[in-house]
């Protein structure tokens, strides 16, 4: 790690501190380099950038908020532990690697638990939605979408999360899931087919929801 410090950062007693405040000009690799030297501030910046999206990604696969928090924690602890082994010139970007870790942890967690999503899960929907018929209908449709997503196998759910919710291009989503673009295509087609079946089976058809 003999690379010089990024020019817009100053080394203080504890390590790098970015003069820009948010670290917007620093790449993830720059921050990882600092993290490898034990810099807490650089690590905090990395978390500010990616923690929320990783919690959400995990949540989309495990459908349990507490487990999603634990998964995100574990993923970032791995970042801290293995930052010194990070190869900035490797094939994958940091974000691809981080998403991969979160997805793998989520799938493992999901397989361990194998919980069946019950109606109790609706409690996670905001209670404020239950005001008026429109909000009740929205809450009900969210429940249906949730049940349809929960019925998908783990890998299909991860593919849907990356492709539809994170809006990743197919190539990038395939890279996150460590598969070829062709294999990912096949996976997302199966996921879509299952999802449509489940949504229709649960009573949600596009005529009812589209304006």
């Amino acid at each position: 790690m003999g690379k010089s410090l990024p020019s817009n950062c100053a080394r203080l007693t504890k390590g790098f501190v970015c003069l820009a405040g948010t670290g917007g000009a620093l790449s993830d690799s720059d921050l990882l380099e600092a993290v490898a030297e034990g810099d807490h501030d650089a690590f905090a910046l990395l978390m500010k950038r990616h923690l929320a999206s990783m919690v959400t990604l995990a949540h989309r696969i495990v459908f349990d908020r507490e487990q999603a928090h634990e998964i995100a924690q574990e993923a970032f602890l791995r970042v801290w532990k293995h930052a010194d082994k990070w190869d900035p010139y490797g094939s994958a970007t940091f974000l691809t690697w981080l998403r991969r870790v979160v997805i793998n942890l989520s799938i493992s967690c999901r397989r361990r638990v194998r919980e069946q999503v019950s109606l109790d899960a609706i409690e996670e929907l905001p209670s404020g939605l239950a005001d008026g018929f429109d909000d009740i209908a929205t809450a009900d449709r969210k429940r249906i979408v949730r049940e349809a997503l929960s019925a998908l196998p783990e890998r299909q759910r991860a593919a849907v999360a990356l492709y539809y919710f994170e809006d990743l291009p197919q190539m990038q989503a395939a890279e996150v899931m460590q598969m070829t673009s062709r294999a990912f295509d096949s996976l997302i087609v199966r996921a879509r087919t299952n999802l449509k079946k489940h949504l229709a089976g649960l009573g949600l058809r596009h005529q009812e929801v589209l304006p």
């Binding site: 034990g38 807490h40 690590f43 905090a44 978390m47 923690l51 929320a52 919690v55 959400t56 949540h59 989309r60 459908f63 908020r65 999603a68 928090h69 995100a72 924690q73 970032f76 602890l77 801290w80 532990k81 996670e124 929907l125 905001p126 929205t138 449709r141 969210k142 429940r143 249906i144 979408v145 949730r146 997503l149 849907v160 539809y164 919710f165 197919q170 295509d185 997302i188 087609v189 879509r192 087919t193 999802l195 449509k196 949504l199 229709a200 949600l204 058809r205 596009h206 929801v209 589209l210």
Partner: protein, 134 residues
């Protein structure tokens, strides 16, 4: 692959599916409070990791290497060597004794060597002579 491809079964096409998923996304984004709690928890764990890490330049006591699995294996190996040495020692001691018994000259030979050969008593006529003298 495009997101709007041929419809699967007439229920909805892919764009409509995406619209439904986005509009009725059942996962709420994490709150700022929960993110701060996660960050705090991660930093607490990191501090624990850092405290448990032994600095490379610190003065380590000599028995440090006996801690952990490597130490246990070392102790077990040492005990095994000592035990096998004891057993081998016992066996070879027994062999030495046996060979000592077989190679040591007999007591008679030892007596011959120190006292000279024993004279066989062949003259049994002394009693007769005494009788003759009487």
């Amino acid at each position: 692959m495009t997101k709007r491809s041929s419809a699967y079964d007439g229920l909805m096409d892919n764009a409509e599916l995406q619209h439904i998923l986005k509009r009725y996304d059942p996962v709420e984004p994490p709150t700022q409070g929960s993110l701060m709690a996660i960050e705090a928890s991660i930093f607490a764990k990191i501090d624990g990791l850092t405290r448990n890490r032994i600095p490379a330049d610190s003065q380590m006591p000599p028995w440090v290497f006996l801690q952990g699995w490597a130490g246990r294996v070392a102790i077990f190996t040492a005990l095994l060597i000592i035990a096998s040495g004891f057993i081998v020692g016992q066996l070879s001691y027994g062999e030495t004794n046996v060979s000592a018994l077989t190679s040591t000259p007999s007591l008679l030979a030892l007596a011959d060597e120190t006292l000279g050969p024993a004279v066989p008593v062949t003259d049994t006529s002394w009693g007769d002579n005494d009788d003759a003298a009487e």
